[in-house]
Amino acid sequence: MPTHNRIDATKVGDVTVVTFTDKKILDEAGIQELGAELFSLIERDNRRSIVLNFDNVDFLSSAALGKLITLDRKVKQAQGRLKMCRIKPEILEVFQVTKLNKVFDIRDEQDEAIAAF
């Protein structure tokens, strides 16, 4: 599996589980790199079932939201499925305020997210 700087990607059966290296996802260069690494899962590695586990993430800016939205779109275009889990209440509130909770498939726990494929 290729090495990434901003994420760790492990396979659980057919599902790729992604965790984030940074607790705070806010600086522009980091967000660009994060986006490139996430998109490569779809575009280079042909992953089609992806879970983003936010357990390590304490903060993300709206620029990071943009990358998640683009990833979601790329996954859907590739006939894949993206799920998110372990999101802290404050970040969940960000998703709710922006109504992205209607766009993203959000589950409480990683096991639940994996089982939902």
Binding site: D58, A63, G66, E90, V94
Partner: protein, 141 residues
């Protein structure tokens, strides 16, 4: 940069260069002060989010990363209120004309959420008439 601190209020005034990330130190200091004054983590998160969005807007959209321009930031923290004003040297904008990012057709747009997040997570946000200066206020919950 000036910093003033007494037992009741912490204040800082700083002019930032129009570079991405130039706000890191003042933002970190602000968050540290919120913790010193005993603010709950959810409020610290809210202030962090709003201030980050507002300063990035000022640097990127207001000053357009022009090295000749500065972003003026004034912070004030006390036990029950935080006040941050952020002013850029750009032409300003009309916040009322920012499209609603929660409208069905814009839900999946990659940008345009900063102002809504600021409004939602702060007690009050107010732009000046020109639209190049914003005051963010948070009352402790």
């Amino acid at each position: 940069m000036t910093e003033q601190s007494d037992a009741d209020v912490w204040r800082r005034v700083i002019d930032l260069p129009s570079e991405r990330g130039s706000n890191r130190e003042v933002t970190d200091d602000l968050l540290t002060q919120l913790k010193v004054f005993g603010w709950p983590p959810s409020d610290v998160f809210a202030v962090h989010l709003a201030v980050e969005e507002a300063i990035v807007n000022a640097i990127v959209h207001g000053n357009k990363l022009d090295p000749a321009k500065r972003v003026h930031v004034e912070c004030e923290v006390s036990a029950d209120r935080v006040l941050v004003s952020i002013t850029d040297e750009g032409p300003g904008f009309d916040p009322a004309r920012v499209p609603d990012c929660t409208a069905e057709e814009r839900l999946e747009a990659p940008g345009g959420r900063g102002v809504m997040l600021m409004k939602s997570f702060m007690t009050r946000i107010e732009y000046n008439a020109k639209g190049n200066s914003v005051v963010l206020e948070k009352r402790r919950t």
